[in-house]
């Protein structure tokens, strides 16, 4: 009965080598979010999709991109990972954006950059 699925759970990449993280959902929610959580820090919103509309946070580096080919799937692309991009990446979904609707989280993908 998994609702928000993230693959892979662990990803290792090399400095500068593009990497893609995947998220899928079975909730049929309109909104999908990507958060970055560095060690001992708070999850930080990178961007979200409301249907096909992409909403980037002002301080999200250009190195981070996202794609949402359909309602169920959303991808996080890191074009040239740096050592500082090593983190847990969390995907979440909700019915409506910027609302009090509960956000449902996936288990996260832990990214290591060598």
């Amino acid at each position: 009965d998994a609702m928000v699925i993230q693959n892979p759970r662990y990803q290792v990449t090399q400095f500068g080598k593009p990497v893609t993280l995947s998220c899928s959902q079975t909730l049929n929610h309109n909104v999908m979010y990507w958060y970055q959580q560095k060690s001992s820090q708070a999850p930080k919103l990178l961007f979200h999709y409301y249907d096909k509309d992409f909403n980037n946070e002002a301080d999200t580096p250009d190195n981070f991109q996202s794609r949402r080919p359909n309602t169920s799937f959303c991808f996080l692309d890191i074009r040239s990972p740096g050592l500082g991009d090593a983190a847990m990446y969390l995907c979440a979904t909700s019915s409506r954006p910027r609302s009090t609707d509960t956000q449902y989280f996936g288990p996260g993908t832990r990214l290591t950059v060598l």
Binding site: K44, A92, R98, T102, F105
Partner: protein
């Protein structure tokens, strides 16, 4: 800018002890407040949330939280913890009704059997 402070990084309790985890936020307007929990190896899940009305909110698994507007606080409580409550707890705030969710750094709770 909104921010959330969770002052305790790691709390260690014995089973049956009472729990209170602190959460303070900075935001001058109407806020919506959340507590999320992350059990070992699992995803973040909602414990409880406050929008309006009774400032004492009851959530799942016997947890409750009290919104004290004058103190900008939303502390999480449980009268008697169990070993299965071992997890990391995150407080989050959403300013107004159309903001982003801003998380605190989390508090790790370890309950000794």
């Amino acid at each position: 800018a909104q921010s959330v402070s969770q002052h305790n990084h790691h709390v260690i309790l014995s089973e049956a002890a009472s729990l209170e985890l602190g959460c303070n936020y900075s935001y001058g307007g109407t806020v919506n407040l959340f507590w999320y929990v992350q059990y070992p190896g699992q995803h973040l899940q909602l414990l409880l949330k406050y929008f309006s009305g009774d400032p004492l909110v009851k959530g799942i698994k016997g947890f409750e939280a009290e919104f004290i507007k004058s103190k900008f606080s939303f502390n999480l409580r449980k009268p008697s913890v169990q070993w299965s409550d071992t997890a990391e707890y995150f407080c989050a705030v959403m300013g107004g009704s159309q903001g982003n969710l801003i998380f605190g750094k989390g508090t790790k709770l370890s309950v000794k059997p």
